[in-house]
Symmetry: C2
Subunit: 510 residues, 2 copies
Amino acid sequence: MYRSPRSSTPHRHQSRLASALALLACAVALPDAAVAAESPDRAAIRAQIDARHDASIEELRDWIALPSIAAENRNMREGAEHMAMLARGAGFQHVEILDTDGHPGVFATLDAGAPKTLGLYFMYDVKQFDAAEWTAPPLEGRIIDRPEVGKVMIGRGAVNQKGPEMQFLQALHAIRDAGQTMPVNLVLIAEGEEEIGSPHIRQLVYRPKVQAALEKTVGVFMPFSMQSPDSPPSIHLGAKGVVELELIASGERWGRGPRKDVHSSLKAMVDAPAWRLIKALDTLVSEDGNAITIDDYPVAPPLSDEHRAMIAKANARSDEAGLKKALGVDHWIDDLPWQQAQERLVSQPTVNIEGLVGGYTGPGGKTVLPHQAVAKIDMRLVPGQQFDDAVAALKKHLAKRGYGDIEVKVSGGYNPTQTRADSAIIQAGLTVLRERGEDPLLWPLLAGSYPGFVFTDPPLSLASGHFGLGDGGGAHAPDEFLVIESVNPKVEGYDGAVMSYVDYLYAIAR
Amino acid sequence: MYRSPRSSTPHRHQSRLASALALLACAVALPDAAVAAESPDRAAIRAQIDARHDASIEELRDWIALPSIAAENRNMREGAEHMAMLARGAGFQHVEILDTDGHPGVFATLDAGAPKTLGLYFMYDVKQFDAAEWTAPPLEGRIIDRPEVGKVMIGRGAVNQKGPEMQFLQALHAIRDAGQTMPVNLVLIAEGEEEIGSPHIRQLVYRPKVQAALEKTVGVFMPFSMQSPDSPPSIHLGAKGVVELELIASGERWGRGPRKDVHSSLKAMVDAPAWRLIKALDTLVSEDGNAITIDDYPVAPPLSDEHRAMIAKANARSDEAGLKKALGVDHWIDDLPWQQAQERLVSQPTVNIEGLVGGYTGPGGKTVLPHQAVAKIDMRLVPGQQFDDAVAALKKHLAKRGYGDIEVKVSGGYNPTQTRADSAIIQAGLTVLRERGEDPLLWPLLAGSYPGFVFTDPPLSLASGHFGLGDGGGAHAPDEFLVIESVNPKVEGYDGAVMSYVDYLYAIAR
């Protein structure tokens, strides 16, 4: 599942810094000059973006009002149909809903008669929400003034990912409305299960006609609001893979300990699944919790000199102190200096405890001996490591150490994504940024994850990445927002973000 | 805190077996013959119990309708005042409310001009409850038919401990109403913090006038519904002590890791408090989770031959298979046979995980690196181990192993309780049971805990224990109940339980 580093950061300031983490914060001055395009009439297109601004905002509001939430099986068919309608409206000639063993996806193509074809990855689902935690209704799309940011739209999906996706579709409307030639053909695959780990994305992408269509593309990109007030955008060359799972120790499976919670006094003669979980967990990582000690775990390749150099270049312009402050962290692992910490972030696989839950979890205590204890784990994978290998190694390790009864309940995840810097979709992004007068950076690998593997792994072996100007925050959190009118000249508002997609499409075509 | 082994057993069947665990299930035939008393006119007293039955039930209902819950600071003053009113009504001439640094207690004395004085320990507080989980309103005291049990009153506190306490007070009413001589003087101390671990009971019991009054007693007993349909009551000679605490690993105290939850991708460069907790927990117990490995932990003395013999005698009449089935346990620790398992239950201190909670605890996963993780722990202590020593050893151990930053947040607990078999309060209980034709058992030590230490430790060094016929269940659980009319001839109903207290008082006087 793609979870932007913004995912866990409910407030704007956190969002910004988490974004900096992924995309590498670095401060450069932005020129006032607009990007000079070669062939299209940018002014005409820009005029159409302005003319259709209110209509596009209204379309985004309507989309936000229809939340598709896979985990709740909410509006999934309706969401796919809405996605299909939006694609048709934006000029896709062929649009169809594809069923899977899970929730449906949408496959669409736009044939512009162009020499090049670009792939698009969309998600029409959004994260769960609790309206009680929001200061504005999560499904209304209300536009409010946010101090030091500007006018923002509040809504679930505003930035993750309906907002950027709607901005991309608005770019297609504007090119057409301005009477300009669509510079590339498009192949769109949209899924409704991104927020639950994309369990059926292979059934969409590897369907013969979809695969055949994608094979003709120069790569697959996802619209993404990559700006922040503190730093110019940088372009990533991939993302870590992830395994999300629960380790469940239970009296039932163990055959020891109780099959239901019993009084804690019984600990004197009854075995405890909670202690078993602790002992098993203890074998997975080193004493400091930072090195993986799972037997025969897939080996992470060393960081390449090329990637080390990218990190060094980025670090020269990044704000370590600001990130530490925003994260509430005083020391990186092993007190590493900034460069080595960032190298670790990029190059190291992880085994992380997302959550621990067992027995009594309320305030104070309760004298029970729990029949079950669970550790929620995520394991990030770097290119060179495979999802299946990591899961198999973990299971084998537990069995070998005598913990074969501990259930390994995998709930989602996928392989890492890796894309070459010289691919068209990466170079097009760099071109748009350079033509804006920026000095963009490349970043080797997002520490977060998204299901780009389905495009970059065989059989497709395509490039995959993100691009898009604009800003937002609060993904997965209350008060998720998208910037509509920016008070910061370094950050584009809604229409500027739309224009960045216009420029991107023409850059791909060159 | 006294938590009956019934505490964690919401349903009757569980309750029964948990009770069997503590009090040692053993099946003997009950004779029909009533107990022959020596001096009092038992028939006259019994007639008054009958005559006042409805009034006493109504008083119990009124008491249940006023739940005092220390954890919620609910009705504490009102609860103490109600307790005082009930004591006055039952004949205590001196009744006063005593303030503490926590919630108030009640001190009362009844001077019968008798040679002997008996101490009483009451609690007026009850456990929290969630009315939505109950099939009858928890504060109504509704009487319903329970299959194979009889008429029972449903209500929070019905058996833990308002019901048995009200039955005891009804015994006092009945003796007085029958014109009989009160056989002993009484000293009552009632607290309102039993359910939160009796943190201020020393401030009540060691207040000079209370201590002076208690010094004159032959021991301190608590009314307790000790019958079950499967087994005759047995009398315990003490209870384990307990320490309840939380071990909290946090980025804040550690100085490493984050001070708030951050995105899990950061695990590659940020230390994890959750792993730190796992590593620290791992040092506390042996690989199988059953032996304490805390450095310099207070040593548990070996089981005495006398206690081993008590266990063997009880085992000859107990139902191991039934208990295993009720608990959902297939094997005791180390596959011990019944006798050795019971010896372990009586003699071994424990370190138990009551609960684990950290990071994301909802359904599925969430990609966070938690800033904090907590293990809720209870440590049971056997006689010879002191509460303070256990806490000090744990803290020293953690510091020595390099986990000094892990907070040891002690929320409650106290020393073990131990009482000699030849003490008056134990012998009186045995006498009442034998005069009913039963062959009662002694049990060395409850594996559960109650704050009897405050009476049995110096300076008072008194005997302390429980006694009372009748039955009930669901303590700390929904649908807590007290048997009012029993369909099982081996189990007393409300009035029979009251009569058992009458007999107990006269037995003490002999």
